[in-house]
């Protein structure tokens, strides 16, 4: 009888040969010395393999050692940290020596007035009672935060020290966000007042039906209320979300506002930024810097030291003085005899007859009045550029999300697939969360929480389309594996489709709304899932 091949013998030894074959081989072995030797040798070989593999290498010696080493700091981590510190020092030194033009100072992360370090400002703001009091300190905090950020990124890129439990990452984020929970003076009630003889040394957060400051607030004033009146002095910024905001006293910083009406009868040290239905600067009102607002109607009777930029859906009436340029986009513009514009006047209106400039009005610079013709945005190259930037931004955000919370992003994308359930949940979340934010904000301790919730809500609305796009892309592409690359490619395809669909009149708007609801629903669902108990081992 012919001998068996080595491979057949190997199959037999591995227990992978069919029963009848095994019987035949066994019969053969009784007569064939050579095959018997081969089978014995193969069996011995298997034993060697099993024993060698099962005797684990030393590095897997003990589970305790394995977990302890996970968090140990190696020399390479130390080296990365040193490099980051040195680089950071060099960069910050270099930044300090640079003679940055004032116009570009917003870009400087180490500057107190820098706008790129808004986040640092935010933390510092809450942790230390407002930028107005410890403004300089923001630069230091910004420096430290930037170093931490750089160091953290370097460590993440180096795949070391990366928290392995998603819960841990979430905890870190929450800890960072929970800073706002101290060092604030909070007042809450139907009627909150700072009496004329009273001085608040901290930043004041006031939530009430009616907020009135007759005395002095040395920090910023942050208010939620129906009516906010400042008759006394706010040395920092006034940040108000109110139906009516009225300043007849002094605000030394800026005014940031979302209000129905804003009346300024007093003194403002810097600028007004806001979204307001009706803006009124009284003839006694003084604005130290400029005004940048989106308004329904604006009436400027007082004095503005620098420029005014207005986007209005109604009319802008100017009878006071503006130190520099007046730029407006809107329906109608009126300059009375007493109006004075130090710089250029540029206006974009629908019809030329909507611009009334009295003969007595003074305009220092050029007049540039153009009729805004609504042309299709598709014909402008800028439109495509903006869309490309928007797309790149969304991809970048998606990539970052996948880097930091891969499991969560994948799972949320998956959950979009539950269709009506996600959509229904999303509609509820979209409508319910703003109500919850307001309710929480009214309670005393809940204010920082409501801010966090607001941030999360806005972020989720943005991220919604990313999850939905990724899901759409995945359905269309059906990638072979589920790698990060596939996810991102799916995201790109999905985003492109949604963007194009979004331009269809009426239907596009509906689709966009649906996308936001779907994504929000998936997000809420995944949050709920993730909040279930996690392993503690």
């Amino acid at each position: 009888m012919e001998c068996y091949s080595e491979q057949t013998c190997a199959l037999a030894v591995d227990g992978e040969l069919a029963a009848d074959e095994v019987q035949r081989l066994r019969d053969h072995l009784t007569t064939c010395q050579r095959c018997r030797a081969l089978v014995d040798a193969l069996r011995a070989e298997n034993r060697v393999l099993s024993e060698s593999l099962n005797e684990l290498p030393d590095e897997a010696a003990s589970p305790a050692g394995f977990t302890a080493q996970r968090w140990s700091w190696g020399w390479s981590d130390l080296a990365i940290l040193v490099v980051v510190l040195v680089l950071g020092s060099i960069i910050s030194g270099w930044f300090n020596e640079l003679d940055i033009p004032a116009a570009l100072d917003w870009f400087n992360p180490f500057s107190v007035s820098g706008r790129t370090n808004l986040i640092f400002h935010f933390f510092d703001y809450f942790a230390h009672g407002g930028t107005a009091m410890l403004g300089d300190y923001a630069a230091v905090v910004g420096w430290i935060c930037l170093l931490l950020l750089l160091g953290g990124s370097a460590l993440v890129l180096g795949r070391r020290g990366r928290p392995h439990y998603p819960g841990m990452r979430l905890l870190i984020v929450l800890l960072a966000l929970s800073l706002p929970s101290f060092a604030l003076e909070r007042r809450h009630g139907e009627f909150v007042t700072v009496a004329a003889n009273e001085t608040v040394d901290d930043t004041l957060v006031a939530t009430a039906n009616m907020v009135r400051v007759d005395g002095v607030v040395n920090g910023d004033l942050l208010t939620f209320g129906r009516t906010v009146e400042v008759r006394g002095t706010v040395r920092g910024d006034l940040i108000s979300f109110a139906q009516r905001t009225e300043v007849s006293g002094t605000v030394e910083g800026h005014i940031y506002t979302v209000s129905h009406t804003l009346d300024l009868e007093g003194q403002l040290g810097h600028s007004i930024y806001g979204v307001v239905q009706s803006l009124h600067i009284d003839d006694r009102g003084r604005v130290g810097d400029g005004i940048v607002v989106a308004v329904g109607d604006a009436s400027l009777e007082g004095e503005v030291k620098r420029g005014v930029d207005i986007v209005t859906s109604g009319s802008a009436d100017v009878s006071g003085s503006i130190g520099r340029d007046l730029t407006m986009v809107g329906r109608s513009l009126t300059l009375t005899n007493t109006a004075r514009v130090g710089g250029n006047l540029s206006a974009r209106v629908r019809q030329l007859k909507e611009v009334h400039i009295a003969d007595g009005a003074t305009i220092g610079g050029k007049r540039d009045i153009q009729v805004r013709v609504r042309e299709s945005s598709f014909t402008r190259p800028r439109f495509y550029f903006h869309q490309a930037v928007w797309l790149a931004g969304a991809i970048l955000v998606g990539w970052l999300g996948m880097l930091l919370f891969p499991g969560f992003f994948r799972a949320t994308t998956q959950l979009v697939g539950s269709g009506w359930l996600s959509l229904g949940l999303g509609v509820g979340v979209l409508a319910g969360v703003p109500v919850a934010i307001v309710v929480i904000a009214i309670t005393l301790v809940g204010f920082p929480l409501s801010l966090m919730l607001l941030a999360l809500y806005l972020a989720a609305i943005y991220l919604a389309k990313i999850w939905v796009s990724a899901f759409l892309g995945r359905i269309l592409l059906k990638p072979s594996g589920a790698t990060k690359g596939d996810w991102l490619l799916g995201l790109l395809v999905g985003l492109l489709i949604l963007t194009i669909v979004g331009f269809i009149p009426y239907l596009g708007g509906l689709v966009r709304l649906g996308v936001v609801c779907l994504g929000l629903g998936a997000f809420a669902g995944q949050l709920y899932r993730a909040s279930r108990p996690v392993i503690t081992a």
């Binding site: 001998c3 068996y4 091949s5 080595e6 491979q7 057949t8 190997a10 199959l11 037999a12 030894v13 591995d14 227990g15 992978e16 040969l17 095994v22 066994r26 081969l38 089978v39 040798a41 193969l42 069996r43 011995a44 070989e45 298997n46 034993r47 060697v48 393999l49 099993s50 024993e51 060698s52 593999l53 099962n54 005797e55 684990l56 290498p57 590095e59 897997a60 010696a61 003990s62 589970p63 394995f66 996970r70 795949r159 070391r160 392995h164 439990y165 990638p479 072979s480 594996g481 589920a482 790698t483 990060k484 690359g485 596939d486 108990p533 996690v534 392993i535 503690t536 081992a537």
Partner: protein
């Protein structure tokens, strides 16, 4: 006879223990773990982490990725344990789960492609009796076992992965084929060739 015995063989567990008492203990442990009992999950972790890590370490190229995969296996365990039906011994099931995790990790690294791709080079064809088959002898000293381990670790993915799944996780060819999305015959051929390659790389072994 031996073939049958091999077929019925269960993984030998260093940590788990297969004694009657231990088994009963394990059953109740799994039951508790199914109810999201943190302590039970912790105990399972303590018992099997070394074994799971060992598999991940053999399958993946770096300690870090092996640690990542091990963490993932135990993190997912609280959910995946619900799908364990007791039809095979728990440790073997756990190693199968871990094997899948590692294959996923390898796949991710290869941008979603399959870990091992079948190539038409005749590998699946049963080869004729080689002129001088010389399997590894019973080399058994500790140093030599370490040497075998090192050599296995240096084998390319397509040899190392099936070999480790077969002789460490003790999966059947069918299970390996399923995990790697390959034909069973191809798995057999890969394991066969892996052993040949191992023999070639360990030339000065003692017989």
């Amino acid at each position: 006879m031996d073939a049958k015995r091999n077929m019925a063989k269960e993984p030998q567990l260093r940590e788990g223990g297969t004694g009657q008492m231990e088994r009963k203990d394990l059953e109740s442990l799994i039951e508790c773990a199914r109810g999201h009992d943190g302590e039970a999950l912790g105990e399972i972790y303590r018992r099997y982490v070394r074994r799971v890590f060992g598999l991940c370490r053999y399958m993946l190229d770096s300690r870090e990725s092996a640690e990542d995969a091990t963490s993932e296996v135990f993190l997912k365990l609280q959910r995946s344990i619900e799908s364990y039906d007791g039809s095979i011994p728990f440790p073997r099931w756990l190693l199968r789960v871990a094997g899948n995790q590692c294959i996923d990790a390898l796949r991710r690294r290869q941008r979603g492609r399959r870990v091992i791709v079948e190539v038409e080079d005749g590998a699946a064809v049963i080869e004729p009796v080689s002129s001088e088959p010389s399997p590894l002898g019973a080399v058994i000293s500790k140093e030599e076992r370490a040497k075998v381990r090192d050599t296995i670790a240096r084998l390319p993915d397509n040899y190392r992965v099936p070999l480790v799944l077969r002789y460490y996780s003790e999966l059947s060819y069918d299970e390996i084929a399923q995990q790697l999305d390959l034909e069973r015959n191809y798995v057999a051929a890969l394991i066969f060739r892996a052993k040949q390659e191992l023999r070639r790389r360990l030339p000065d072994r003692s017989k």
